[in-house]
Amino acid sequence: MGTTASQLGKDLLSEYQELTFLTKQEILLAHKRFTELLTKDEKDLPNTRVSMERVLTLPELKSNPFRKRICYVFSTSEQKDGSLTFEDFLDLLSAFSDSATLEIKSHYAFRIFDFDDDGTLDCGDLEKLVNCLTGETDETRLTTEEMRQLINNILEESDIDKDGTVNLSEFQHVISRSPDFVSSFKIVL
């Protein structure tokens, strides 16, 4: 199932409404934007998969430092190449939507930050995360010493069971204290 035909069927639309946090207008808008990414031949095929490069031309994702991780996390492709079908795209928008719950946002945020996909945030993941946050330019990059100190501080604050990594529940514990997380973890087309 799934479609990239030019029209979305009514049952399919209501099914998507039930399975995601998006409203009808948002799903239709997503469908419109997704079909704009397709070439003419691809438009008639059902279940087309769009490559990551084309997805990243969307203005909402273009300058996001986590854009590649977002594509990898939501992609269901066998080759793990970050390509998205329309349903993956809807999953993405649902997790980033206005009405998504804190738990689903924190779950996906954890997966996005988990650069090596091992289920926990260890030092390597944290380092890559901080580099994404501060940018890779010379003036904003942290020195090795600063990075080490920062990672130690982060682990000291959030690693409750002292195993050297931040797991999902510890991550959610930190997130639940922030009043801004839900409103900033948002991408709206």
Binding site: L19, Q25, G119, E156, I160, D161, F171, Q172, S184
Partner: protein, 735 residues
């Protein structure tokens, strides 16, 4: 092949995590029932036993991809759970409730004003600026709905029943008090219409705009009666109550988040790293700015021994409030410099304060007290200026021409000038006071709010003085009618006119500043490569002073709504114009600030300040309803001793039991037990909150212990494996 195994591993990693987490009952705020615990191997029979005790999971909250969710849904639909009819009724109710919620949400989205604009603003300028525009939109909706309320209950019945209806009370009163002739005499020139429009006199005075036009009539048919004065009064009271409920409802979610997150962990490293990225950032420029911002925040923290600093903190809540206002109220450039160095300077100042000798301390405190008095003196000076201007303006009212217009607008001009100059001077005073930066910010903010709201209060006080002859109803001018009938044949209309002029002037000043100051500044800075021009730079969008302007405008409308029923409509139009003006100036003239980030606590703070304005307006309304005698020459309450007295009079026409019931509710026999009940309920909630706090702390400690257990077990395993390997080595070596 490799990728297959890796994928399995990563999937299992997550599922495994959740399985062990479920048994651990972690203390995250969210329920752990919605983790993807989908177990393909579970038979329907097993699920039945479990499923009968819990509701079917809301699939949207499970972090599975679409195909899996669809499969789960199919399995759920195929299962025919054996449940009691009560259970199934409950489940159907829950499902229909959810559907209703979804439908209302979709319906409301249709009416969301300007959502595209707001998104663009948030993406380019950050959350602080966006929260200002959200607040403005909230006020537009509030004013529009209030206008609908007033139109439905007061305006339209008045228009419909204008010619019909009988006077409520027969005219009793001295001749002089009832003289009221608002229509202009003689030939009226064309430009007079324009002047009248600006000052609310002339053709505007005797119209539905102001209180004076409404009649003291009651329509009493065989099966329908409508008492216009009663409707007027009740609509005004209900309007205030409605605004309060609206504001508190809006505050609700923001307050809950602000209270729940508390002051314990604001701004620490993991929070910054995990939660500070704004995924709504659009464009390279905004992204780079955000990255610089985060880098800066991490650096500033790095110069302190952070953990030690927080542990010595005693007053957590106060610190939280300071920090919130510090970072959320994007203040003027002088304060911006303070904000930049907040943490470093705080510590430096603390160290310096600790190292002062007693002599120096005394001098510093004396200086601070003196400067406080100077600031206070400035504010009082501004108030005196407003007082003088209002008296002068009221004396010179009725003058013709442009000069007359300037005299009419004198109080507004003085208020605006005061609101602009006094905070500037207070900023300079703050430099001498040398408080810690966070305290400076709070003090500046409090002073600004005090100045704005109390200057309005001074204006109203001056008017009151003139209307009631200083409250002395025995003095010569007020003896006859209990109010100054010479100057104010219809004093309510005059007060309404003052509020109308304030509103209009506020709008005109905003547009004038936009055209005459902001655009030229941008053109100068962009085209003139002088050093001075570059130092001044493009302006920054200062959220706090804009918010205070909105609160001031809304307070004026609330105060004037009783006397000028159409004021909410005018305010709606004014705020809509203001939205577009501010948006234009934001995108064309302002540069994005380095230090902004979104916060739900900003909105909460704006609403708290709005409530201050609301309480000022309520005080004015209650006083006008209860104490001052309504004018005898105009309005729906003439010939009543005060406006509220129409209520008991109308109640006497109700049935006996209703009357007794209403009197009972108003008496002490009812209100004291109610108050006691509220206290009990509040104690219960406080106890509940402390219990939850304790259980969170307990669970954290439990997690720590389990972590240590795990480490101990891992070490044991390593030791054992080493022991097992050593015999092998000796065996191998022996061979």
């Amino acid at each position: 092949m490799d990728s297959e195994i890796q994928r399995q591993g990563s999937r299992n990693g997550y599922h495994g995590d959740q399985q062990s987490l479920r048994s651990r009952q972690v203390s995250s705020r969210v329920s752990n029932q919605n983790y993807p615990q989908f177990n393909w191997s579970s038979t329907p029979a097993e699920d039945d036993v479990e499923g009968s005790s819990e509701m079917p999971r809301d699939l949207r909250s499970s972090p599975l991809h679409m195909a899996l969710k669809r499969a789960v849904r199919q399995v759920q639909q195929m299962q025919v759970p054996v449940v009691s009819s009560r259970e199934s009724w409950k489940r159907n109710k829950a499902k229909s409730l959810r559907k209703l919620k979804d439908n209302t949400r979709e319906f409301l989205y249709l009416f969301a004003l300007w959502s595209k604009s707001l998104q663009k603003i948030g993406g380019n300028f950050g959350g602080g600026v966006q929260s200002f525009f959200l607040f403005l939109r909230f006020l537009v909706v509030l004013n529009f709905v209030s206008f609908l309320l007033i139109a439905g209950f007061v305006l339209i019945p008045s228009i419909v029943f204008r010619s019909v209806g009988t006077g409520l009370v027969n005219s009793t009163g001295p001749e002089e008090c009832m003289e009221y002739d608002p229509n202009p005499q003689g030939l009226v020139l064309f430009y007079n219409y324009f002047l009248d429009l600006l000052s609310g006199t002339g053709f505007m005075e005797y119209s539905y705009m102001f209180y004076g036009y409404y009649n003291n009539t009651m329509v009493d048919d065989t099966n329908f009666s409508y008492n216009i004065p009663l409707a007027y009064l009740f609509t005004a009271v209900f309007y205030f109550a409605f605004c309060l409920i609206f504001i508190i409802a809006r505050m609700g979610t923001a307050a809950r988040v602000a209270v729940a997150t508390g002051g314990s962990a604001v701004g620490n490293y993991s929070m910054i790293v995990f939660t500070s990225w704004d995924y709504g950032c659009l464009g390279d420029r905004a992204t780079k700015l955000k990255q610089k911002n985060i880098h800066y925040r991490l650096q500033v923290r790095g110069d302190l021994s952070y953990l030690a600093g927080w542990r010595t903190l005693r007053k957590k809540w106060w610190r939280f409030l300071i920090r919130v206002t510090c970072f959320q109220m994007n203040l003027s450039p002088t304060s911006f410099l303070f904000l930049c160095q907040v943490d470093l300077e705080e510590e430096m100042i603390k160290k310096r304060a600790a190292s002062l000798t007693t002599n120096q301390k005394v001098v510093l405190y004396a200086l601070r007290v003196f400067m406080c008095l100077v600031a206070f003196g400035l504010i009082i000076g501004a108030f005196y200026g407003i007082f003088l201007a209002t008296e002068f303006s009221q004396e010179k009212s009725g003058k013709e021409g442009i000069l007359g217009l300037i005299f009419e607008y004198l109080p507004s001009i003085v208020i605006t000038a005061g609101n602009f100059l006094v905070p500037l001077m207070c900023d300079q005073i703050a430099l001498i006071e040398r408080y810690a930066p966070s305290t400076t910010v709070i003090v500046a903010l409090l002073r600004a709010v005090f100045l704005r709201l109390v200057s309005l209060g001074v204006l109203l006080f001056t008017l009151w003085r003139q209307i009631t002859c200083d409250g002395n109803t025995e003095s010569a001018e007020c003896k006859l009618c209990e109010y100054n009938y010479n100057f104010y044949p219809c004093w309510e209309t005059r007060v309404g006119q003052e509020m109308y002029k304030l509103t209009l002037f506020d709008l005109l000043i905003n547009i004038a500043v936009l055209v005459l100051v902001e655009f030229p500044r941008r053109m100068v800075v962009d085209n003139w490569s002088n050093k001075l021009a570059q130092w001044v730079g493009r302006q920054e969008f200062v959220v706090s002073s804009n918010v205070l302007g909105l609160v001031y405008g809304q307070t004026v409308v609330w105060t004037g709504a009783l006397f000028c029923p159409l004021l909410p409509l005018i305010n709606t139009v004014k705020f809509i114009i203001l939205f577009y003006c501010k948006r234009i100036t934001l995108f064309n003239n302002c540069r994005p600030a380095l230090k902004t980030f979104r916060s739900t606590t900003s909105t909460f703070f704006f609403l708290v300040v709005l409530l201050f304005g609301w309480s000022l307006a309520t005080v004015v309304m209650v006083y006008s309803l209860a104490e001052i005698r309504p004018s005898m020459g105009c309005g729906p309450f003439r010939f009543f001793p005060n406006m509220w007295s129409i209520v008991p009079r109308s109640f006497s026409s109700l049935s006996e039991t209703t009357e007794e019931f209403l009197f009972f509710i108003g008496s002490q026999a009812f209100s004291i037990p109610l108050f006691v009940l509220f206290c009990v309920v509040m104690c219960y909630f406080i106890a509940l909150a402390s219990v939850y706090g304790k259980s969170v702390a307990l669970l954290r400690a439990q997690l720590k212990l389990e972590g240590r257990d795990k480490q101990f077990l891992v070490k044991q395993i390593e030791k054992l494996s080493r022991q097992l390997q050593i015999p092998q080595h000796t065996a191998g070596a022996g061979q």
